[in-house]
Symmetry: D2
Subunit: 343 residues, 4 copies
């Protein structure tokens, strides 16, 4: 009973969260786990925090042959595409947490990734897995590309204000701060404790691949936004805070006006809440929530929106499960937490 | 339907975890929340990480008059006793996470706390809320005193070995390392970020109140153990690791012999697992699990047991819910997590 | 021999750094230490990391009567002004690390602090203690107001570009990230380990007192800049990173052009260096250095300048010593570190 | 003028501290820097926190041919021995911070490292570089092997008490907690931020190589101590706290008696201080100090000594410079800090 889920890329941080969420989901069960370098290992060897540790990871190809009702992919850039096409050919719905199918055109893909896409016809065919803003395309879909963690935080913050015409998109300035899990789990010199603890740094400055993805998600009508996006690595495991600036369309608009638009947009969304003080990332860690705050600086005519989420949950695994729920006709909140973990 | 739970002391770290666990429990619901200095505040003001933020905290006395099926107390030393007696008089079962009713005799209470107990007749009447070792006294009880976080970690590590006669209790040396949440949530000079981050310190050296509690929990037959207990504060939010040393009773005993005894003791316990490498606290954060490892140093005739748990869950709120489950005849695991949160 | 220095406000984080720097200075010696609530305590009780722990802190008034050659004040807002006037009356040069004398006009003071200044005639009479940009007014001065940590980072980043006409000041967007020591040493609920560890938050949003100070420091000719300034608290002890955005004056200007201007401005400054990759705060912790990087986003016509410093050294105590050196005709670098402490 | 120093192994954490200390030393100057995989790189590429960033690292062999007055080696196990013999042949005094020459006999080397030593005749010929206890053998020596960070903390804590006959050495129990820099700088899976942050773990349990080294340093007369040593990794960069337990020789001895012995041993040592409360590692970070506290548990007849130092300074680079000072007839404190860095 319930849906048998295959988790491809189970050994990373997002993969571990997927196992935890699927284990706790009332309608899902882990049917098969797949890894690449971790194929053959027991779950306890890659995720000692999880129970059921003698479950084993299979190689990707082997796992892809299992009978599953749903596949969730948490794979490095480039690895999702051929696997997803194979699974779809076999009639298995796919949620891709990776970046292979997020872009809507070959041009935007080229801009973001600097190379041609292997399946250009697929671009634009995948639902953009941000349920609060694109639910209608996700419900019942068989292929959903979940946006990245930074884009999720930024698009939730700004898109309703752009759509309402209250802010303009040239230029939008976004400074984001992320915990280290956003950099993945592999042992790189820039990810050691000695490199990250007690320091903050900007990275991917002017070149980060999420900038085109944010711009795509902020297109409203014929307006093409231009975004200056600077991500920063801060010494914590999880969490993203995005501090977003957009020019006000009119000097007569108040913070209350902006807040009303956001509240109207998310009033029925269980996971996005507009609050009356700047959100801390600690308030969302462990939950699938995104907290928003909006203010106005009248001296410069700037709208300021602060957006906080857990990069591994609302920014990855949780949003993936939220999309899966919608694809399969289940309640959007099934298996997802509203309560966070602080401290 | 389900049991209406009153949480007394809802504004602390343990209180927040209790709300989260009860909210997620299939048979429990939060009926009333109580605080002292936080009485009158909305839940979002004291626990912004929790949803349902407009639930309000009542004053203790006011909350005590509600119709509830179970009370869980997470109060400072001395505050539990009168409230608990009041609730019991009204027929409400009580789980006390505080220290007021843990000691089994007035003498031991005096040794630990340096004062007379207000209700000396109660000492010894409360079940000791460590289900893996004292389940029979908890099932169906109406008053359960949950042990402290350090005692839970140490007693789970050593008691079966003492009971089997494989180690002797004079002296036992325990060095424990705890995250900062063990010190509570109030703003004290020794709990600022600037005081804790990037440092480690021993505290309560030779005087910590948990030492008599550990010794009480390690009494087997007529043997009175003597323990040297040194807790250390390390710069992390959650988690306890206890490194426990006990003299071997016989030089012929191997680590395998010790492990067999522990495995036999906990084989049917869903939350305690004996593993084959030293446990990290990160592997248990977020779950109600306690992980154990045992080794032997033949040069000195020492048994070494390492024990890891989440001080706010298995060391407090989770163990409280586990006891409540047993008191009410529910499955021991109801509402409790086996999967942890790493990273 | 050497200069006898009085340190007023010795018990805070900045005060501790002042003692360390003065102890290590070839021409300075600590003559007297003063505290308010810490008056009467031994240095070891307030700064156990410092040697010479039996030196005692005096009350402010008592310390002010000592014969000293220089006073350095590290006091809360409002406490510097009367003490500084008293010391100056006695002919003692004053370096004020506090905020009382930084503003150049009563109006700007009112804007920043919301109240009238007690000594309005003094505003504009104090040298602005940012040696790399205002050295001429500091050399030989008897009263120097050292800018705040955020303003130091932002003004060093942007002022030369504004002065060269390469960027324009309306609006300038600055997102800064600071370690917790910037919030001071007192035990407040928002400064506990449990409140800061593993999270990031914006604070003082649209209202921070450093915004007018930054704007004042960026005035060039008749241009009045308008700045949107958002500080963020990140879980580390020390360090500030400021990510500064300014509109380019002309589309023909390259990052190389901007870099040349910064390098020309700071070529003779031992403590400010323009580097070719985004600076990490870890690279400046422990030293008096500020590291800068500049880039250009041609799509939006934005200049991006990243600026990193140690908030307690270049942002406070170190810059104070640097100013004192200039006031007294000593080498600018005396007693100051160029090498940092990583890890 | 001054002594030209060669630093071999300049790219690690200890190497970086050596450059900083030698740069700040009144009688030393960096003459040559050597690395293995980092040979050819500029100092700024390996230590961006240091000034003089265009100094280049040479290959080991090339650097060894330079005319230097002193060589300090901070190399992995096994790499020091041949290089040191080469340097000594050329008449260059050697301070080895590595482990190759610490053991006093081939047997003890074999026990610690599991293999034969390449230069067995050298064992016992090197001074043991712990100046507070073995100064006479270091003064004027041409070859000094500096003990490891854990042994330094443990031997300083216990040796005087054993020598005075106040405690006995069978068994001694030592639980130490160390920051992550003790594990070195290379990018290993167990050293990532995601593996260390927010957790504590024991490692090298019952097998750590420093155990024989501690035992060797605690030999007094014909007594061979047996030590149970368990190191723990805690989430911080620097610092070691050792919690040391030894059986009291007599029940009549008080904590005051033990303290008197320690104070008498270290009364003339500028870097070791006996204090009256448990030391925090934060109090010694950045300085060359070791802080000790001693207590007695009369119930078990146990002496408890707590010992805190900075593993990269008193536990490595600083102690190396301290030894070099003594070898060359300079003041023991030259170039070394007494003041630490908190916060």
């Amino acid at each position: 009973m319930g849906y048998g889920v295959g988790i491809f890329g189970a050994s990373g941080y997002t993969g571990g969260e997927l196992v935890r969420l699927v284990d706790g989901h009332p309608e899902f069960r882990v049917e098969v786990l797949a890894g690449s370098t971790s194929a053959g290992l027991a779950l306890r060897d890659v995720h000692p925090q999880l129970s059921g540790g003698d479950r084993r990871l299979l190689a990707m190809e082997q796992a892809a042959e299992h009978n599953i009702d749903l596949a969730i992919l948490a794979l490095p850039h480039g690895a999702s595409a051929p696997l997803a096409m194979n699974l779809l050919d076999r009639g298995i719905p796919v949620v891709d947490l990776g970046s292979d199918f997020r872009m809507d055109t070959p041009d935007r893909y080229l801009e973001a990734y600097g190379s041609e896409h292997a399946y250009p016809d697929q671009l634009g065919e995948w639902a953009f897995g941000l349920p609060e803003l694109f639910e209608e395309s996700i419900v019942g879909a068989d292929r959903v590309a979940v946006p990245g963690c930074y884009p999720t935080s930024a698009i939730l913050a700004l898109r309703p204000l752009l759509a309402a015409g209250l802010v303009t998109p040239k230029p939008i300035t976004i400074d984001s701060m992320s915990g280290a899990s956003g950099g993945g789990r592999s042992a790189k010199p820039n990810l050691t404790f000695g490199s990250i603890d007690e320091g903050v740094t900007a990275y991917g400055v002017l070149t980060h691949r999420h900038r085109p993805e944010i711009e795509q998600g902020l297109v409203v009508g014929s307006q093409e936004p231009t975004v200056v996006f600077t991500p920063h690595l801060v010494p914590m495991q999880r969490g993203i805070l995005s501090t977003c600036h957009a020019p006000m369309a009119s000097s007569g608009t108040s913070a209350g006006d902006l807040r009303e638009v956001l509240e109207a947009s998310y009033g029925k969304s269980p996971f996005v809440e507009v609050i009356d003080r700047p959100p801390q990332t600690r308030w969302v860690i462990g939950s699938n929530r995104c907290l928003l705050w909006v203010g106005v600086d009248p001296r410069t005519g700037t709208a300021l929106v602060l957006s906080a989420l857990d990069n591994l949950i609302k920014g990855a695994a949780g949003q993936g499960v939220q999309c899966a729920n919608l694809m399969l006709g289940l309640p959007e909140t099934a298996g997802l937490e509203l309560n966070g973990w602080m401290p």
